[in-house]
C-alpha cells in the first residue's frame, strides 16, 4: 500500500509539473506556428516573468502589489516585451529563412539573460509564497498552492482553446500558421497577426515562469534557459506548431520526469525530458498528434 500511495503521489506531482510545462509549451508552439523557427530566446520570457513578478510584488523596487496583481502585470509586460523583441530582432530578418532567425534567437537569449544578470546578480531569489501544509486525500498530498497552479494552467489552456476556436484573431492565427501567403491573399493582415501571436506567446512564457517560480523556488537568471529543454521536449512531442499536442506532450513529459526522478535516478531529472526528445525526433519527428492546429 505504501508503494501504491507513493506511486500515486508521483503521478500527481507529474501532473502538477506537466501543467507548468504545458503553459510554456503552448506559448512556444504558437509562436513557431506563425514564425517557423525555433526560438531559443523563449526561455528568457519565463525568466523575465518570474523576476518581474518578484520585483513588482515588493522585492527591492519600492513597488509592492499583491502577488496576483504583480503576476498579471508581469505577464502583460513580458507580452509587450515579446512584441518589442520580435520587431527589433526578428522582423527585419523574416525574409531570410529560418536559419538566421534561429541563430539570432540565440543572440537575443544571451542579451536578455545577461542584461538581467548584470542588473540583479546570480543569487537565488524567491517569490513571497507562504509555506503551506499539504492536504491529504487518499494518501496523496497536495498543497492549495499546487492546486492553484494547476487551476491557472487549466484556465490558460481553456483560454487558448477559446482564442483559437472562437475568435477572429484565433482563426487568422491558424490561417497564418497553415499558409501565410494564402492568408495574406485572403485579406489577413499577417504582420499584425504575427505580432499578436508574439504577445500571446511571450505572455504564456512569462506565466509559465511565474508558475515554475511558485512551485520550484528559488530561481536564478538561468532558470528559463535551463528549463528550455523540457519545454522543447513537450513541444516536439506534441508536434511543433500544434497547441493541443503541446498540452498533451507537456503532461507526458511531466509524468516521465517525475517517474524517472522517483524510480530511476534523481541525478538525471533533465535527462528524462531529453530522452523523450531524442526518441520523438528519431521515431516520429511530427510528434504524436497529427493534423493542423
Amino acid at each position: 500500500m505504501v508503494d501504491f500511495a507513493g506511486f500515486m503521489q508521483t503521478l500527481v506531482f507529474g501532473l502538477i509539473e506537466g501543467s507548468v510545462i504545458s503553459v510554456g509549451a503552448v506559448g512556444l508552439t504558437l509562436s513557431y506556428g506563425v514564425t517557423r523557427f525555433i526560438n531559443f530566446a523563449y526561455g528568457e520570457f519565463l525568466t523575465y516573468g518570474a523576476y518581474l513578478a518578484l520585483f513588482l510584488s515588493g522585492a527591492g523596487l519600492g513597488i509592492a502589489f499583491p502577488l496576483p496583481v504583480a503576476i498579471v502585470a508581469s505577464v502583460v509586460v513580458v507580452g509587450v516585451l515579446g512584441v518589442a523583441v520580435s520587431r527589433v530582432f526578428f522582423e527585419p530578418l523574416s525574409e531570410r529563412g529560418p536559419l538566421p532567425l534561429l541563430i539570432t534567437s540565440i543572440g537575443v537569449a544571451f542579451i536578455l539573460r545577461n542584461v538581467l544578470t548584470a542588473a540583479v546578480g546570480v543569487n537565488a531569489k524567491q517569490l513571497d509564497i507562504p509555506l503551506m501544509r499539504g492536504t491529504e486525500v487518499l494518501g496523496v498530498r497536495a498543497t492549495p498552492i499546487e492546486g492553484a497552479v494547476v487551476a491557472v494552467a487549466v484556465a490558460t489552456m481553456l483560454a487558448i482553446h477559446l482564442l483559437l476556436s472562437r475568435t477572429i484573431l484565433g482563426k487568422t492565427m491558424r490561417a497564418t500558421s497553415g499558409n501565410r501567403d494564402l492568408a495574406e491573399i485572403a485579406g489577413v493582415d499577417t504582420n499584425s497577426v504575427v505580432r499578436k501571436t508574439w504577445f500571446v506567446s511571450a505572455a504564456a512564457g512569462a506565466l509559465a515562469g511565474v508558475l515554475y517560480a511558485i512551485l520550484f523556488a528559488p530561481f536564478r537568471p538561468t532558470v528559463g534557459f535551463n528549463y528550455l529543454i523540457v519545454v522543447f521536449a513537450a513541444t516536439l512531442l506534441g508536434g511543433i506548431g500544434r497547441p493541443y499536442g503541446a498540452m498533451l506532450g507537456a503532461f507526458i513529459v511531466g509524468l516521465a520526469t517525475q517517474l524517472g526522478t522517483s524510480y530511476v535516478s534523481a541525478d538525471y531529472s533533465a535527462a528524462y525530458a531529453f530522452l523523450i526528445l531524442v526518441g520523438v525526433l528519431l521515431v516520429k519527428p511530427d510528434g504524436i498528434r497529427g493534423g493542423e492546429i
Binding site: P100, L102, I106, G107, F110, N114, T117, A270, L281, L282
Partner: protein
C-alpha cells in the same frame, strides 16, 4: 631568467587560449561551414577531450586528498603528452560518433535541438559520475608537461609554441580535407542533400564523418586546454562555450578557415579584456573633468560590484555581436557570401 611582466604573461595566456578557441572554431566550421550541420552541443566534444586527457595523466586518487575519482592513469609527462592529446581527439570524435549516430539524420533545426539537449545531458553525466570525473570539484591535478624543467615563464612560451604548431597542423589537414573530393561531397550535402543523394552519394555517412572530424578537433582542443590550465571542472563546459564558438565562427566567416582563426582570436581578446571594464570606467571618471564625470555617472551609475557583473556584460556583448553579424554581415569578416547563401534550408 628575468621574470616576465604581467602584461607579457597576460598576452601569452590570450594567445594560447586563442589557439585553443581557434581549434574549436575550426571543428565547428567543419560541421556548419562546410557541411551545413547545426551543432549546438559543441562544448560536449571539447569536454570529452579535456576529461580524457585529465583522466589519462592525473595521479592516482590515492595521492590526491579528498578525491572521489577512481582512475588516474598517471601517464609520465612529456612522453605521455602526445598520447594524451591523441586520446583526447579520439574521445571527442567518439562522442561525436555516438551523438551523430542518433541525430545526424535529423534536419537542421531538429539537429540543433538534439545536439543542444545531448550536450546538456553530457554535462549532467560529468557532474554526477564522480567516480570518473570527480564531480563538480573537478580534476585539479592535470600535469603541465615540462613545467618543472622549464619554470613558469619559459613554459608559457614553450606551450604556446606547441599549441601554435598543433593549430597549424590541424589547419593544413582541414585545408586538404575540404579541398579533396570528400570536401566537395560535404559542400554538396550542404547545398542540396537531395541532389547529392541522387548522384548516389551516401549523404548520411558523409555527415557522420564530418561530425566525427569536427568532434575530434574539438577533443584535441580539450586536451590542449586541460594541460594548459591544469584543471578540468564542469563549470568550464557550459552552453556558453558552444555559442561563443558559434559567434567566433560567424564573425570570422563560416566556411573560411582563416576566418575561424581570426574570429576566435578577436572574440577571445575581447572576452579577456572585459576584465578591465571597471578599472577603465574608474580611470575614465578620474580623467574627465568633474562635470563630465558626473554626466557619465548619471547615465551609468555606479557599476554593480557583484562578481557576475563582468561575465554577464561579456556574454551580453557576445549575443549582440551574434545578432549584428547575422543581420549586417552574414558572411562574416573573411567569408565568401556565395558560400553562406549555399547553406541551404532543405529538408525541413
Amino acid at each position: 631568467m628575468v621574470a616576465i611582466s604581467g602584461v607579457v604573461s597576460f598576452l601569452l595566456t590570450i594567445a594560447t587560449l586563442g589557439c585553443i578557441y581557434a581549434l574549436l572554431t575550426i571543428g565547428l566550421n567543419v560541421h556548419f561551414g562546410f557541411t551545413g550541420l547545426i551543432n549546438f552541443g559543441h562544448v560536449a566534444f571539447f569536454a570529452a577531450g579535456a576529461y580524457a586527457a585529465a583522466i589519462l595523466t592525473m595521479p592516482p586518487p590515492s595521492e590526491v586528498a579528498g578525491s572521489q575519482y577512481l582512475y588516474g592513469l598517471d601517464l609520465p609527462m612529456l612522453a605521455g603528452y602526445p598520447v594524451s592529446l591523441a586520446v583526447a581527439a579520439i574521445a571527442g570524435g567518439f562522442l561525436a560518433l555516438l551523438i551523430g549516430l542518433t541525430s545526424v539524420r535529423l534536419s537542421s533545426h531538429y539537429l540543433a535541438i538534439a545536439t543542444f539537449a545531448l550536450a546538456g545531458v553530457f554535462e549532467d553525466v560529468l557532474v554526477n559520475e564522480a567516480w570518473l570525473t570527480n564531480g563538480s570539484f573537478g580534476l585539479n591535478n592535470v600535469p603541465k608537461p615540462g613545467r618543472e624543467a622549464l619554470g613558469a615563464d619559459a613554459w608559457a612560451f614553450a606551450y604556446l609554441a606547441v599549441t601554435v604548431a598543433l593549430l597549424f597542423g590541424t589547419l593544413v589537414v582541414v585545408r586538404r580535407l575540404t579541398g579533396s573530393p570528400f570536401g566537395r561531397l560535404l559542400k554538396g550535402v550542404r547545398e542540396s542533400e537531395n541532389a547529392a543523394r541522387m548522384l548516389g552519394k551516401d549523404t548520411t555517412r558523409a555527415k557522420l564523418k564530418s561530425f566525427v572530424i569536427g568532434g575530434a578537433i574539438a577533443g584535441l582542443a580539450g586536451g590542449i586546454y586541460a594541460h594548459f590550465v591544469g584543471s578540468v571542472v564542469t563549470q568550464q563546459f557550459v552552453p556558453n562555450v558552444t555559442f561563443t564558438v558559434w559567434t567566433a565562427m560567424l564573425l570570422g566567416g563560416a566556411a573560411s578557415n582563416r576566418g575561424a582563426v581570426l574570429g576566435a582570436f578577436l572574440l577571445l581578446t575581447f572576452q579577456e579584456s572585459t576584465r578591465f571594464i571597471t578599472t577603465a570606467y574608474d580611470a575614465i571618471l578620474d580623467v574627465l573633468p568633474s562635470a563630465g564625470a558626473d554626466a557619465v555617472q548619471s547615465v551609468f551609475g555606479v557599476l554593480p560590484s557583484h562578481p557576475s557583473f563582468i561575465p554577464s556584460v561579456r556574454f551580453a556583448v557576445v549575443g549582440l555581436l551574434l545578432v549584428l553579424v547575422i543581420r549586417y554581415r552574414p558572411q562574416g569578416l573573411l567569408g565568401d557570401p556565395r558560400e553562406i547563401d549555399a547553406i541551404g534550408e532543405e529538408g525541413d
